[in-house]
Structure formats: structure tokens, C-alpha cells
């Protein structure tokens, strides 16, 4: 409006826009790197159903509720659902991907340390959603 000049507002908007451009660019770059699946990643088929997780390794072995992997190797999860939507989540490794019936989503990770981590479901799936949990066990094959 007339009366007073608006330059402080323009400076402020400029700063906000610059910040958003920076956040967007950083996020774009990070996501691009994170999504690149290594060639030698081993496939694990993950199936969610009310209210537990099943895992199938490349050699055909199956596990329920527990997932054993080797430290230092890369793994690609192929995520399926048998009934309703779930979300496969290993929070400590920022692994999160919805399990949606009729579609296969993929996500990968490479465990860096020996130890155990929680697996959980992060998408509401009904009665026992709160306890649709499992354990990731990262082992050292040489030990």
C-alpha cells in the first residue's frame, strides 16, 4: 500500500524463497543418491499381512517375524501385501515403504553394524497394527 515502503517484506520473501530452493535442491540430490540400488544387492521378498511379516531369501529360505542378514552386504526388499495396506519399516536404517496389495514396491539398504533392530508396521492396518513387529538381526558371517 502507499503510506510506507514494502522493501522489508520483499527482502523477507526473497530469503524464504532462497531457503526453499536450497531445501529442495538438497533433498533432490540426497534422494537421487539414496534411490540408486547397488548392482550386487540380494533380493528379499517381504510380505505383509494382518498382522505379521514374512521374509523369503534368494535361496528360498523363509522366516517369519525375524530377518537375518549379513553385515556389509546390500539387500533389496520387494514388498508385497496379502490383504490391506501396511508399511515395512526399519526405523534405524530409514527403511520405509508401503506394502500395497496388487503392487510390488522396492527399497534397499546395507546394514553397517552387527546387531539387532526393530521392524515394525507404520501404516494403519487394523486390530493388531500396534503389534505388527519383528526383529532384524545383522550377523557377521566370518564370526
Amino acid at each position: 500500500m502507499s503510506g510506507h515502503s514494502n522493501w522489508p517484506e520483499w527482502v523477507y520473501i526473497g530469503v524464504v524463497v532462497a531457503l526453499m530452493v536450497w531445501v529442495g535442491a538438497e533433498a533432490w540430490e540426497a534422494e537421487r543418491l539414496v534411490e540408486h540400488v547397488p548392482e550386487d544387492a540380494k533380493t528379499i521378498i517381504v510380505t505383509g499381512q494382518q498382522w505379521f511379516w514374512t521374509f523369503e531369501h534368494e535361496d528360498g529360505t523363509k522366516e517369519i517375524g525375524e530377518l537375518h542378514v549379513e553385515v556389509g552386504k546390500a539387500y533389496k526388499f520387494e514388498i508385497h501385501s496379502k490383504d490391506v495396506n501396511h508399511a515395512f519399516n526399519i526405523h534405524d536404517y530409514v527403511v520405509l515403504m508401503d506394502a500395497i496389495p496388487g503392487r510390488v514396491n522396492t527399497v534397499w539398504f546395507a546394514p553397517t553394524d552387527v546387531g539387532t533392530h526393530d521392524i515394525q508396521c507404520r501404516e494403519y492396518c487394523g486390530l493388531i497394527h500396534y503389534n505388527m513387529r519383528g526383529t532384524l538381526i545383522v550377523e557377521d558371517p566370518k564370526a
Binding site: P8, E9, V16, A87, V94, I100, T106, C125, Y130, N131
Partner: protein, 508 residues
């Protein structure tokens, strides 16, 4: 409009009235009733989560029903009808017209709310406020789910009717001497939010019907077992409901635009920038819906597009914050209760937006999505910004509605306790999300950090609960027995209180 309660009328006279202040009063009372009902459910949720294990809510199904009805109630039966209450009281006066454009339609839009509320509360569905298929089709128990669908259908129609009325009242009924550039910012906020409603709601209305026929088994739009796609529902839902979050927040910002300059005893820093930000937000708000869907398996390109769309809306919100701060700058501020709520709300609005930017940055969202972080994020808006703006405005309009003053000390205590409580609950929930606690869980493993954060949040919620009891007592007592207000200048800040005072109710 003033002295509603000083000249008692039989209740049926108000109920069958189509006058805008009477319909406004109906909206006001029903929205506050639902605020308290929905709020009690929140206290039950927080009490249950104080410790791991089942304590006060017996089973997971009841818990799931409680958080579903909590969210549905506060969004659709408190926030939106409360805004309609304020709009009904003020918009006709601000555009200098005798009533809303279509008074009968106005009353009908209100009277759709009680049956819809009854359907939602009697059904008590469990499929969360977004009723995601295929759970909502193959797993959610009826008739609760079907009653919820019908309830939302009715509320959607009510919103659309209300929006048509606001748009016509503002654009067609404003006084011929008044240009659109002279319409106060509060009325502009109703114009923008109403236009968003008209564009956004029909999509969800269609999705609801498809959900219903899917549940009946006659179609399979979203049911993979019948060749449908659940992701299609997510797109339809968020195409409506991301813009809808601006429908919720814009009127609250409009209310702050009334309060802040009044109590700073200064004109608004920039009217034009306020109008521009409202209009910009209404348009850009439509470019970001799938930021709720990063983890559904979208391609890198899709995610990038919606991240850019989300970030593009941030400057428009930030402009409002600047406008408020610049208005208060060097003002002779009087911190009466309404001003405290408005200023507190702006501070929380700013923090909420900052958290939103983190959600929008796609790699970070894989940490926050569907954890308590998201619960904290949007509650800083719905509680911290929208409820704070609305409650502040309720104190502000109280003397005009009742002709009496509320108790100022109790109003301030209410604010301080609610502010502390809100920070304790929702900032803590952000941290809880970073620790990985999923949302919508009835019970959690005894991880020490999770327990500590949950306990802080529960204490905060109880503080809010007590403050709301003080609020209720203040409202009830003061509307009957409060000091008579000086309706020319109830807050003793000088200046002219032209708007509310001029409304004439023919039945007085």
C-alpha cells in the same frame, strides 16, 4: 446481533430462524459442543499411552475407534462449523448486507450437521480419518464404516452449500459503494476458503461414493481383489484434503487479521499482501497433494514434482507471519485475552510450518512419515494455529454475542495453560516421531525414550484438559452473570468497533 442472551427468546425461535446471527449462534454452540466431545476422546488416548500395556481403554478396537472419531469430530464438526459461525456473524456485516445471500440455504447447511454428527458418533468407525482402502472395504466393520461414509457425505454437501453462500454474499451482495479491495481481510479469508471448497470437495465426494459401492461389493474401484487400485483412492482423497488443510487454516488467519491490528492499535501492515497471500495459497495449495504419498512407491519424478509444489506454497504462509509481526512492530499492544491467543497462535503457526518443510523434503519424510512426528506437525496447525485463532476470536466476539464480558483472568489462565500444554504435547510428539514411534498404535514396547516422551505428552494434554474446563466454566458463567460489556469498546482500546455492533436482528 448483540445482546443475544440479554433478551431471552424461546429456543425454537433461534432454531427455526434463518437470520445470519441466529444461524451463527447455532453453528457456534454445536461446534463448541463437538470441541469438548472430541477433546475428551483425545484425553482418553493420551491417558492410555501414558504407559505401555493396556490401562484404561480395554482393547485395540476401541482405541482405534476413539482416534478415528476424535480426528473426524474435531476437523469436520469443530473447526469447519466454528469458522462458519464466525463467517455468519461477520461476513454480512463486513460487506454491509442485511443477511447472507441465501438465508434458507444457510439454515439448511447448518441443520445437516447434527444428523451427520450423530451418524459419526453412533457408528464409531475405526478406519482412521482417511478411510484407506482396501482396509475400509474388506476389513472395517459395518455399520460403523457405512455410517461414517454417510456422515461425511452429508458434511461435504453442507460445506459446499455454505461455501456457495459465502461466495455469493461477498461477491454479489456487498454494498455497491464498496469495492472488492475494501472488503476486510476476514471476509477475504472466507472468499478464498470457500472457493477452495468448491474446487476440492467434489473429488472426495466421488471417492466416498465409490468407497461405498466397493463396500457393497457391486464395484471394485479401490479393491485389488477386483482389479481396483487403492492408490487411486489416496490421490482422490489427498487432492481434496491437502487443499482442505488451507480451508481450515485460512479463516483462522483471517480472524487473526481482525485481532492483531485492533489490539496493536495500528492498521494492518499490508492489506494487499494479506489478500495476495490468501489468493496465492488457494491456487498453489492444489499442487502438493501427493506429499502425503511419498512412501506409496511413487517414482522419483513424481516425488520431485510434489515436493516442489509443496515448497512453493511456503512463501504464501510465511507472508502472513511477516504481516502480523510487522503490524505489531512499534504498536501500542494491549495483551487482552484475544490478543494473547492470536500471538500464541502465530508463534505455533511458524513452528508448524518449519516442521512441514522437513516433511516435504523427500528423504527426510521417510523418517517422519506415519510416525508421531506427523501427528505433532498437523496438530501444531489444527490445535496450535486454528484452535488458538478460533478461541481467541471467541473471546473477542463474546461481548458482542452476549452483551457481557468474560472473566479476563480466567481467559488468561486458559491461554497460558493451553499454550504450555500444546508445546508439551506436540513438540514432544515431533521428537517421539524421530525416535520412530508409529502413529495410531494402541500399545508400544517399553523403550525408555518412548515412555518418557509419551508421559510428557500426556501431562501436557491433561494441562490442556484442565484449562478447557476453566474455559467452559468462564463461558457458561459469564454469558449469564458476567459484567455488562461496553459494546462500543469492550476491550478499552479506543477506536471504533463498527462491525458487530451494527447487525440488526428483525426478531429482536
Amino acid at each position: 446481533m448483540v445482546l443475544e442472551l440479554q433478551k431471552p427468546r424461546p429456543i425454537w425461535q433461534i432454531m427455526f430462524s434463518t437470520h445470519h446471527t441466529d444461524v451463527g449462534l447455532l453453528y457456534l454452540i454445536s461446534s463448541l459442543a463437538f470441541l469438548f466431545l472430541g477433546g475428551s476422546l483425545a484425553l482418553a488416548i493420551r491417558a492410555e499411552l501414558f504407559l505401555p500395556g493396556a490401562q484404561i481403554i480395554g482393547d485395540a478396537m476401541t482405541f482405534n475407534r476413539i482416534f478415528t472419531v476424535h480426528g473426524t469430530t474435531l476437523i469436520f464438526l469443530f473447526i469447519i462449523p466454528f469458522a462458519s459461525a464466525v463467517g455468519n456473524y461477520y461476513v454480512p456485516i463486513m460487506v454491509r448486507y442485511k443477511d447472507m445471500a441465501y438465508p434458507k440455504l444457510n439454515a439448511i447447511a447448518f441443520w445437516m450437521i447434527p444428523p451427520a454428527g450423530a451418524l459419526i458418533w453412533l457408528g464409531f468407525a475405526d478406519f482412521t480419518w482417511y478411510a484407506t482402502p482396501p482396509y475400509s472395504i474388506i476389513s472395517a466393520p459395518g455399520p460403523a464404516a457405512d455410517m461414517w461414509i454417510f456422515g461425511l457425505k452429508i458434511l461435504g454437501i453442507s460445506s459446499v452449500l455454505g461455501a456457495i453462500n459465502f461466495v455469493v454474499t461477498i461477491l454479489k451482495c456487498k454494498h455497491p459503494d464498496m469495492s472488492i479491495g475494501q472488503v476486510p481481510l476476514l471476509a477475504w479469508s472466507f472468499l478464498s476458503s470457500s472457493l477452495i471448497i468448491l474446487v476440492a470437495i467434489p473429488t472426495f465426494a466421488a471417492a466416498l461414493l465409490m468407497l461405498l459401492t466397493d463396500r457393497l461389493g457391486v464395484s471394485g474401484f479401490f479393491n485389488p481383489a477386483m482389479g481396483g487400485d487403492p492408490i487411486a483412492y489416496a490421490h482422490l482423497f489427498w487432492f481434496t484434503f491437502h487443499p482442505e488443510v488451507y480451508v481450515l487454516v485460512i479463516p483462522a488467519i483471517g480472524m487473526m487479521y481482525e485481532i492483531i491490528p485492533r489490539f496493536s492499535r495500528k492498521p494492518i501492515y499490508s492489506y494487499n499482501s494479506g489478500v495476495f497471500a490468501f489468493v496465492l495459497l488457494s491456487i498453489v495449495g492444489f499442487s502438493s497433494w501427493a506429499h502425503h504419498m511419498y512412501a506409496t512407491g511413487m517414482s522419483f519424478t513424481e516425488k520431485t514434482v510434489f515436493m516442489v509444489g509443496t515448497l512453493a506454497a511456503v512463501p504464501a504462509s510465511a507472508m502472513h507471519v511477516f504481516n502480523f509481526v510487522a503490524t505489531m512492530w512499534n504498536g501500542r499492544i494491549k495483551f487482552s485475552t484475544p490478543m494473547m491467543w492470536a500471538v500464541g497462535g502465530i508463534a505455533l503457526f511458524f513452528s508448524a510450518g518449519a516442521g512441514g518443510v522437513a516433511n516435504a523434503a523427500m528423504p527426510l519424510d521417510f523418517t517422519t512419515h506415519d510416525t508421531y512426528w506427523v501427528v505433532g506437525h498437523f496438530h501444531l496447525f489444527v490445535m496450535g494455529t486454528i484452535a488458538f485463532g478460533s478461541i481467541g476470536y471467541l473471546y473477542y466476539m463474546f461481548p458482542y454475542v452476549t452483551g457481557r464480558m468474560y472473566n479476563e483472568t480466567m481467559g488468561k489462565v486458559h491461554f497460558i495453560m493451553s499454550f504450555v500444554g500444546t508445546v508439551l504435547v506436540f513438540f514432544t510428539q515431533h521428537v517421539l516421531g524421530l525416535y520412530g514411534m508409529p502413529r495410531r498404535i494402541f500399545d508400544y514396547p517399553p523403550i525408555p525414550e518412548w515412555i518418557a516422551m509419551n508421559q510428557i505428552a500426556t501431562v501436557g494434554a491433561m494441562i490442556i484438559g484442565v484449562s478447557m474446563a476453566i474455559f467452559l466454566a468462564n463461558m457458561i458463567y459469564s454469558s449469564g452473570k458476567g459484567k455488562l460489556a461496553n459494546t462500543e469498546d469492550p476491550f478499552g482500546i479506543g477506536g471504533k468497533y463498527y462491525y458487530p455492533f451494527e447487525a440488526k436482528n428483525p426478531s429482536h
